[in-house]
Subunit: 341 residues, 2 copies
């Protein structure tokens, strides 16, 4: 057989031998070190692609102490919100030259988040993004490994890490005010599950607007984000037909469930009841009627969180904790109308 009998992938020393230089010179070429003669550089480059050499980032990470990998801990990345956020994170990270290692938790609790963070730390990530939309999960950030740069997304504002999130309270304000402006006496709310920070923020904003306007605050229905739970809430609301004229639903999927229930019960939207959702999922525009909703810019959240994290990593120091808020946007469509009188 020929000279390369072994199928072992080439290493730096092989390239060096072929190019007639030392392995350190090869390293310098690869890392764009300035002090390399142009001719030497091309000779090395030629050797590199003659051998099909790829550098071993594991070995590199061992000596530099930087893996250029970021860890992401998330929850049910099947949902539109988390999926979009993680996508934004991944894009931003890759643009900055970082890899992303993901752990998607099935259930989200402090222990689970802690384990995930632990694994990622062992694996040598340079920093961690935790998408922690639940209070219990957010608390896990209190016991991060010392010195590990981290950022929370949609998390809690208190504690030892920076947080990036959409302004949920403001979004709920926009939704509720819009309905009040249309002349509705008050606005009902179908909320997300307890313990979810987003659900809490939306409740807070909704309640604040009603209170400020001196309106009665109706009892609240609680769902679990799923269309099915929205459907059940819709059935209840339909039974109270006359009383209810406006509903702010904590996400678009539940709003779809409401729409379905109302259709079945012969309640007309927006003629009898106005509905505002939250998220602006791609489907919302094509509901019947098209859904008025609050858009969250998940991509921006992902990008901002990587900004914050990389600033921490690259400074090497423990920077003061920031709280970045991405504004939500009101999207007017066909599910809301002036209150009937």
């Amino acid at each position: 057989m020929g000279p390369n009998v072994d199928r072992r992938p080439p290493v730096m020393a092989d390239v060096a031998r072929l190019a007639g230089v030392s392995h350190q010179t090869v390293s310098r070429v690869l890392n764009d070190h300035p002090n390399v003669r142009a001719e030497t550089r091309t000779r090395v480059m030629r050797a590199i692609d003659q051998l099909g050499y790829r550098r071993n980032l594991v070995a590199r990470a061992l000596v530099t102490k930087h893996s250029r990998t970021l860890g992401v801990v998330s929850f049910d990345t099947t949902l539109y919100g988390p999926a979009s956020t993680v996508y934004g994170i991944e894009q931003a990270a890759r643009d900055a030259g970082y890899f992303v290692s993901i752990v998607s938790l099935r259930t989200i609790d402090r222990a689970g988040v802690n384990d995930a963070i632990g694994y990622l730390a062992e694996q040598g990530v340079d920093g961690i993004v935790v998408v922690a939309p639940q209070r219990s999960a957010a608390r896990a950030l209190d016991d991060l490994p010392a010195g590990m740069p981290a950022v929370a997304v949609e998390g809690w504002h208190q504690g030892e890490v920076s947080v990036v999130s959409v302004d949920q309270v403001e979004g709920a304000r926009l939704a509720t005010s819009h309905l009040l402006d249309l002349g509705h006496e008050t606005v009902w709310h179908v909320s997300g599950p307890a313990d979810w920070l987003e659900a809490e923020g939306r409740i807070e904003g909704w309640r604040a607007v009603l209170t400020a306007a001196g309106r009665p605050v109706p009892g609240m229905l609680t769902g679990d984000w799923s269309p099915r739970s929205g459907y059940h809430a819709g059935k209840e609301l339909a039974a109270m037909a006359g009383d209810v004229t406006a509903v702010f639903v904590a996400n678009d999927q539940m709003a779809l469930g409401l729409l379905r229930a109302f259709t079945e019960e012969g309640v007309k939207v927006p003629e009898q009841i106005s509905i505002v959702g939250f998220d602006d999922i791609p489907e919302s525009e094509f509901f019947s009627p098209p859904l008025t909703t609050i858009r969250q810019d998940f991509g921006a959240v992902g990008r901002r969180s990587i900004d914050v994290l990389l600033r921490q990593i690259e400074s090497g120091e423990a920077l003061p904790h920031e709280r970045l808020v991405v504004p939500p946007q009101f999207v007017l469509r066909g599910s809301t109308a002036v209150a009937a009188r």
Copy 2:
């Protein structure tokens, strides 16, 4: 200050010193080597959590040549299908003790997929899953680094890798046959974009059933998976009202667009036109009317692909290429009805 002045994280040697053993013994404890005295083991364990020691998997990977990390290359993980598949992959991988490093491509072409695979290879992943739903992307698998275990998901059946996918052709058959069984003369089709393997499979199954039944094959409309493109297709179809009585739409999101267009044009579903979708996204059950569709078990696809990949990795050999097919499932709901006569 006390004895640990430096904030450098502890290494194996520190544990060894504290436990009064050699670092190798610590390694043996960590790797569950059988030949360690019980008492020594507990002494080491005590030292480990006294110091808060975590092993450095980078160093470990350098010597073992295994990172226990899998690479995943995917495309637009914001869509329900890819998101669910990636979720399934991640779950299965973690259950098997592997990490997952993800690259989400913005646009999917051969060069992009190749780059992604290259990065992952440098990073030292033990194997790669490519979610390659487009012909062009699937072709990138032809030039994988030699000896790199890999599996394609929703990919092409030909070439040098194993493939796991849902049986698209069969799904389309189920949809089309159902409509024919209801007495419709023929079935129209709104397909996915050209070059997508799933779109092609669905067209093939649809056409096969019509041909086999001796029915005319109507002209086909082409969308891009988005609700909006379905909406446009719906407008066209509505204009041909009398002629069209049944439509098989290549995914649920486009079906939603059709539904919206039909509502606007006063076309009643299912009374005037029956519709079958594809995917069974969580929203479909709450469309108006609830959508009859074909369910894809994305989770199963993810799990099977990890099975195949790990078998390759752990055997260490180039196994024969498999083609695993996950059956689709017909879901009857309210958007289809017996043909009007």
